[in-house]
Amino acid sequence: MAEPRTLAQKIWDNHLVRRVGGQPDLLYIDLHLVHEVTSPQALEGLRDSGRKVRRPDLTLATPDHNVPTDDRTEPYADPLSQQQVSALRKNTADFEIPLYDTTDERQGIVHVIGPEQGVTQPGMVIVCGDSHTSTHGAFGAIAFGIGTSEVEHVLATQTLPQRPLKQMSVEVNGELPPGCTAKDVVLTIINRMGVGGGVGHVVEYRGDVIRALSMEGRMTLCNMTIEGGARAGLVAPDQTTIDYLQGRPQVATGDDWDAAVAVWRELVTDDGAKFDAELVIDGSEIAPYVTWGTNPAQSVPITESVPDPDEMSDPAAREGANRALEYQGLEAGTAIQDIKIDRVFIGSCTNSRIEDLRLAASVAKGKKVADTVRAMVVPGSGLVKKQAEEEGLDAIFMEAGFEWRDAGCSMCLGMNPDTLAPKERCASTSNRNFEGRQGPGGRTHLVSPPMAAAAAIAGHFVDVREVN
């Protein structure tokens, strides 16, 4: 009998174009997502070498990082942003790559539109020049971020040479406590794993808490896999996955749908498959988490206080914490709930889907954003925006004093007009609290959408479990 394999190993093996001793495996790429920031140099490289895009029909482009979310009138105020978006238009036209442009309601953050259109499916290998490509692992796919040289390789060959990854199991058992979301699950995991704990691995998320998550929750979870250092994370497909996909624009119908479902149901880790590393977390340990530092593992539950670096035994952790507190303008021992905020950002490829907006709206409904806070909600795609408006979520947010924006990466990364001013403090549903991530000198605290909405109303962090 064949050696038991993990789900990730099976998908990997199914995509082997070429395996030669002493060389990385050559993997076939089923889907290549492209945005304006990491593609121009790659397409210029193709032009210079006279190469073509091998499979434009397996490639999908959209502008997201640079796109203003309030006024999309062109030319944009920033000529460099305009140049990048214009270059994407020219490149996709020249190389015949499908593009969801800013006037298309399907435009949005690459990691929102792939699943929404049904081009992200179980068992696939998916890449994009963006580290949060791990998001697509929610469907039981191997999905990972690549650099621009690798983007060029995929465009030219539809393949990528890769060394096999090590296998890690992260099992979250029991039940998700009330008031907690998938964001709190992943912040808890990264808190335990550390920001480098997953380097070299693909993570399979397992256990009852993971199984009970919706597809949107699984996307939030897999999205932040890279923040623990692992390049990809995935959840085996199940009925939740199948129900989400059925009827989406690019999903098969008829006999092809039946064939697809039959294949997807086989996508499981074999009993006895070996993992190189394992992490087990009990669901009862999960709480609404808030990051206090400048990496996503520097976090505590909302009921706790900013930790004291002097109590940390590891010298590197102590030094990192000291630097982080200085940057963040925080004192050890301050209760998290006493930290006042200036800005709130609900959006990003982590938390900008309809379910995220519903959760935030349920907290904001009938309340008012604190006078000292400027808060914005940025849907992940034009279609998320449309659906939210059909459900009346836009009215709830705007009546509460939130700004209601157009789709894009927005304040996640400081490449478009949505940025923090130096020393401004933000409760953010995004994925990175690195120094300067949301703008030079800006101070980021990562939280779930309901925690962000609750903080907007209170003007400081609050325990959303006590608000509801």
Binding site: V17, R18, G22, L26, Y28, L31, V37, T38, Q41, R54, P56, D57, T59, N66, D78, L80, S81, Q84, Y100, G118, V119, Q121, M124, G129, D130, S131, T133, G145, I146, G147, T148, S149, E150, H153, A156, T157, Q158, T159, R163, G196, V199, G229, R231, Q250, A252, D256, A259, A260, V263, A316, E319, L413, G414, M415, R432, F434, E435, G436, R437, P440
Partner: protein, 197 residues
């Protein structure tokens, strides 16, 4: 990519763990559509601090960077590699690198050398004491050495080593076996999605 055999010179001791690619090159500089010109903006935010190591002229133009654990974590931006190369760095030595950064470096001909933490710390202490102290990274022999006779061997995947030594473009290598791709494509299930609008 130009072939690389050795990188020799003094080294910048950047003794911080988890240096992310946003710190190496902030997002606002990712709007260029070229691969060059990022060097002046490398580590920009940290340069406001007069005590930051790169503000010490003694390390200006040093071709080796000594880094802490998990160097290059975060974003997939290859611009981080371009920025380091733009400031003249040809090799980074750490006990651990983030995966995507390491891949990007290999494609661009930036050496990422893994040594034991204590060996990196030894080199850092030396570079702090003597900013001009020389280090040689020899790819062919897979060694890091100093003129006083200290030497350590490092591991590197033979395929990557060969590409770096020859300055080889791996797209050409893949296309040399394009028939394998054609064959694979005939086996793909028909239910898989396409992106056609």
């Amino acid at each position: 990519m130009d072939p690389i055999k050795t990188v020799t010179g003094n080294a910048i001791p950047l003794d911080r763990a988890n240096v992310d690619t946003d710190a190496i090159i902030p997002a606002k500089y990712l709007k260029r559509i070229e691969r060059t010109g990022y060097g002046p903006f490398a580590f920009e935010a940290w340069r406001d601090d007069p005590t930051f190591i790169l503000n010490n002229d003694a390390y200006s133009g040093a071709p080796i960077l000594l880094a802490g654990d998990n160097f290059g974590c975060g974003s997939s931006r290859e611009h981080a590699v371009w920025a380091l190369q733009g400031m003249g760095v040809g090799a980074v030595i750490s006990n651990n690198f983030a995966d995507i950064f390491r891949n990007n470096s290999a494609k661009m001909g930036l050496l990422t050398v893994i040594l034991a933490r204590e060996d990196v710390e030894h080199l850092m202490a030396r570079a702090e004491e003597l900013p001009g102290a020389q280090i040689t990274v020899d790819l062919e022999t897979q060694t890091v050495s100093t003129p006083d006779g200290w030497s350590r061997r490092f591991e590197i995947e033979p395929f990557v080593k060969d590409n770096l030594l020859k300055g080889r473009d791996d797209i050409s290598l893949t296309l040399a076996n394009e028939g394998d791709i054609d064959t694979f494509e005939t086996t793909r299930p028909t239910f898989l999605p396409e992106t056609k609008a």
